[in-house]
């Protein structure tokens, strides 16, 4: 069973689409299950001013991408990079263990958009189990 927040984001995803004048884009795909998340961002003076997503995937994949666009809005790039898989899982009210990779996909797209190639920033590495 999915959390009410996961269901809500799946049924009513926030910030769907692409930012018209994006300054950063990230696209992460999981060839294992065919899921894809694309993020586009407008970053001004080190702060994320706009975030939108497109996704093909299961319920948690869409919910996590949607929730992530809310979490990073108005947040500095540095703080956004601090959002990891477990943070996102918690922010959607939890997902089944077998679906935690769905959150990782959105996090990977975000880090690719912000130029860290999907890895955890050095100061955070080790905090989140992968």
């Amino acid at each position: 069973m999915y959390s009410p927040l996961v269901v809500d984001h799946f049924k009513h995803p926030r910030n769907v689409g692409a930012v018209a004048e994006a300054t950063a884009r990230g696209r992460a795909a999981n060839p294992g299950c065919g899921d894809v998340v694309e993020l586009s961002l407008r970053v001004e003076e080190g702060t994320i001013r706009e975030a939108r997503f497109r996704a093909t995937g299961c319920v948690p994949t869409i919910a996590c991408a949607s929730r992530l666009t809310e979490l990073i809005l108005g947040v500095t790039v540095s703080d956004a990079l601090g959002i990891g898989r477990d943070t996102l899982v918690e922010a959607v009210g939890g997902v089944p263990d077998a679906s935690r990779h769905a959150a990782q996909l959105s996090v990977a797209a975000l880090r690719l958009a912000l130029g860290t190639k999907g890895g955890s920033p050095p100061e955070r590495r080790g905090r989140e189990a992968r």
């Binding site: 992460a28 795909a29 093909t56 999907g118």
Partner: protein, 387 residues
């Protein structure tokens, strides 16, 4: 919220008549059919009656029906009951895992197996069956109809090939029985698997047809039940339920129920393809059982669509379950040559005699909306994979 159940290839609703038939066996008509008491013999009589009802569904003699716990046991009994180390078995790539995994186990025990490919519609070529025969071939096992697409295999032709070669022929008819006419003499099979809960009987009951004279080693050893071919006190209520469901299925088929269901299914497919762009019916060119539609909706995840429909009260299914980031596309569809992304984008809809025109209309409306909604959030086609 109104509900529409289109997952009858997974399991079916117990028919009210079946429920009424089995109810007394949970109360005053309980008994052990192996007992010589009046109570036991009344139970025996009920089992005998059910055996006849099941036999009539497939054109068999009552003594050729062995009750099992369901399709998986029937398939395992058919294969493991006749295959010995050194024997060769021929089957195909889109069989149920009850066959494929059983073959894997038999291979580990020293048997050999040939897994035949299927064409783009999911059909086995009988010439491939003939070409795969070996001196040690003991059994051909090809399903009557596929669970994912409903594709009907050319079992009568394969039965003739088996007969000419002096090889046993088993067909897994779990998804065919009760949906199309099946006659063991016309098919020419020696073994045929049935499952109760796919034809409105309870879960936990099934049957294996075993042609008279076929040597079959039991999987379960113990008492003398089922002629020594399946030990264990009989599932009395389940057997009675399967018998009643088989009788009702025979009558339904005889009254043209299958053709009515086919018309409903065809209307569903026509409306889906008409209203939803880039939707294609998998296996459309092959003969299919009348209740099954496998449809690929490009640019969406079948798992997401099933979930979206579920939230609106419509139950369908996808052959793919995600587990820790790895969700193999449905193997039946990739074996038919579908690209993984189309297989991932496929959803199975399976109706039953209880499905109504209103159900289908509601399902099409919801489908059109949800496919549109999911595609609106899908990445555009021009993306580049970065991970």
């Amino acid at each position: 919220m109104a509900t529409v159940y289109l997952d009858n290839n997974a399991t079916t609703q117990l028919l009210p008549e079946v429920f009424e038939a089995i109810r007394p066996f949970f109360s005053d008509r309980f008994g052990n059919a192996s007992s010589s008491t009046m109570r036991g013999q009344r139970a025996r009589g009920a089992i005998d009656e059910a055996r006849g009802q099941v036999a009539r569904l497939v054109g068999a003699a009552p003594g050729e029906i062995v009750f099992t716990s369901g399709g998986t046991e029937g398939d395992n009994l058919a294969l493991r009951g006749v295959i010995s180390p050194g024997d060769h078995v021929i089957t195909c790539a889109i069989e149920h895992h009850a066959i494929l995994h059983c073959c894997r186990r038999l291979q580990a025990l020293g048997a050999t197996a040939t897994i035949l490919r299927v064409d783009g519609e999911g059909r086995v070529d009988p010439d491939d069956v003939r070409a795969a025969l070996q001196r040690r071939t003991r059994l051909i096992s090809i399903m009557a109809a596929n669970n994912e697409t409903g594709t009907i295999q050319p079992v009568e032709e394969i039965g003739r090939i088996a007969s000419e070669a002096g090889v046993l022929f088993h067909t897994d008819a779990v998804q065919a029985a009760g949906k199309i006419e099946i006659d063991v003499e016309r098919v020419g099979c020696d073994l045929l698997t049935l499952s109760g809960h796919k034809l409105h009987a309870p879960q936990g009951i099934g049957a294996l047809y075993v042609r008279r004279g076929t040597l079959l080693q039991a999987l379960l050893h113990g008492g003398p039940q089922e002629g020594g071919r399946r030990a264990g006190t009989e599932n009395l209520a389940g057997i009675v339920g399967l018998g009643k469901a088989a009788e009702l299925a025979s009558a339904w088929l005889g009254d043209g129920g299958g053709e009515e269901l086919r018309a409903l299914r065809d209307r569903f497919e026509a409306e889906v393809v008409d209203r939803i762009e880039e939707a294609r019916v998998n296996g459309r060119g092959a003969p299919r059982v009348p209740n099954t539609s496998s449809i690929a909706f490009e640019r969406i995840s079948g798992r997401a669509l099933v979930a979206a429909l579920d939230l609106r009260g419509i139950t369908a299914s996808t052959g793919s379950a995600c587990n820790a980031g790895s969700a193999d596309p449905p193997y039946v569809l990739t074996a038919m040559g579908l690209a993984p992304e189309l297989a991932h984008a496929s959803v199975r809809f399976s109706a039953s005699k209880l499905t109504t025109g209103a159900d289908v209309a509601a399902a099409v409306d919801c489908l059109a909306e949800e496919v549109g909604r999911l595609r609106a959030m899908a990445p555009l086609r021009t993306g580049r994979s970065a991970v």
